[in-house]
Symmetry: C2
Subunit: 205 residues, 2 copies
């Protein structure tokens, strides 16, 4: 069993770039929270995003991806930047119903670790179907709730999950391991082994 | 007074591309709703986004933009793609408080036309300050609530609003006109003059 999907061969430079950035700008907070909002999920550094987008393309080059699926809001940036390298459209799953969406949707429930609540998450049936080979991209993987919800939407549509690309995986939490055990290909650009809230230390796998 | 900010000189091709796409794939719904979720705000076409990003860069080339501000969720895609051409970071304003954000935020209230509710919208004080020259980008401009909220955040931070770039402006609604009357530079890639829900007709300015 592959425990972690981190690429260490050709993609070493991207990983190093990201790990150094997390070390430099990431802030460890109480409750196993890693704040990376200076470059990843509030302010977004497009130069870094481009390197990560290229890296996702390299990692999943062997997969016949025709669509990237993410979830609002913080996955949208990396999904869009990466999609340029795959030359495919992005679909983002939406939290809660909007009057601008038809009733014709696939839906699932996702518990947010960050917001401590459960969301109804939907994707229009028009943009996900049996012909689709989908790469899931997201900024974080911890307990895997968001990714499992996206997988549920893709499989409801009869589409194929070609892989799961994650910027930062919290290796201490079971999400990634459980997904890999189910046979999904999960590739995380940085995997955190442990963090120390008092010293601010962040150790990567 | 310039009523509309639509560029018709050099940017003609981008406008035509976008207007044709809206004509082809946009669906007019009851209540003055235009659904463009097949390419703009649910599924996102990166080829089109790149053309629009280049166009925003061309339009605002004379402005000393060092940051792009948008609001989650559907503005994030175009903001990120455009930011590559400006070579600046993106900051997205967040709806409601998250435990991942400090208390150190600027906040405002925005009424959503689409969701028929009022959101608290915040941006961290770390990512917006007096040194910033900000370009606001968003997918839609109707009554202007979202853009006015973003302006409020920028001005709270003592930063400068260098301009406002919009993908689709609903010219029948007053948002764009009122912003231009206040002296903001608003440039919309497509401005809708009227729509007919029964015939599906969409007429651009």
């Amino acid at each position: 069993m592959i425990k972690y999907g981190k690429y260490t061969k050709e993609g070493g430079w991207t990983m190093e770039l990201l790990e150094k950035r997390i070390q430099k700008d990431g802030i460890v907070k109480a409750g196993n929270v890693l704040k990376v909002d200076s470059f990843l999920n509030h302010q977004m550094d497009m130069e870094l995003f481009n390197e990560m987008g290229k890296e996702f393309r390299r990692i999943f080059a062997d997969r016949p991806v025709n669509k990237i699926l993410t979830i609002e809001a913080s996955g949208i940036g990396i999904a869009c930047i990466a999609a340029q390298y795959f030359q495919v459209p992005v679909v983002f799953a939406k939290k809660a119903q909007s009057i601008n969406l038809d009733g014709e949707v696939y839906s699932t429930k996702i518990e947010s670790f960050t917001h401590k609540r459960v969301y109804d998450v939907i994707v229009s049936k028009k943009y996900l179907g049996p012909e689709d080979h989908v790469l899931i991209l997201d900024d974080f993987l911890a307990n895997g709730c968001a990714v499992n919800g996206l997988i549920d939407l893709i499989e409801s549509a009869g589409a194929v999950v070609e892989g799961i690309g994650i910027v930062i995986e919290k290796g201490q939490q079971a999400g990634g391991r459980l997904l890999r055990e189910k046979g999904y290909r999960v590739e995380s650009l940085a995997v955190i082994e442990r963090m120390n809230e008092e010293t601010g230390e962040i150790v990567f796998h």
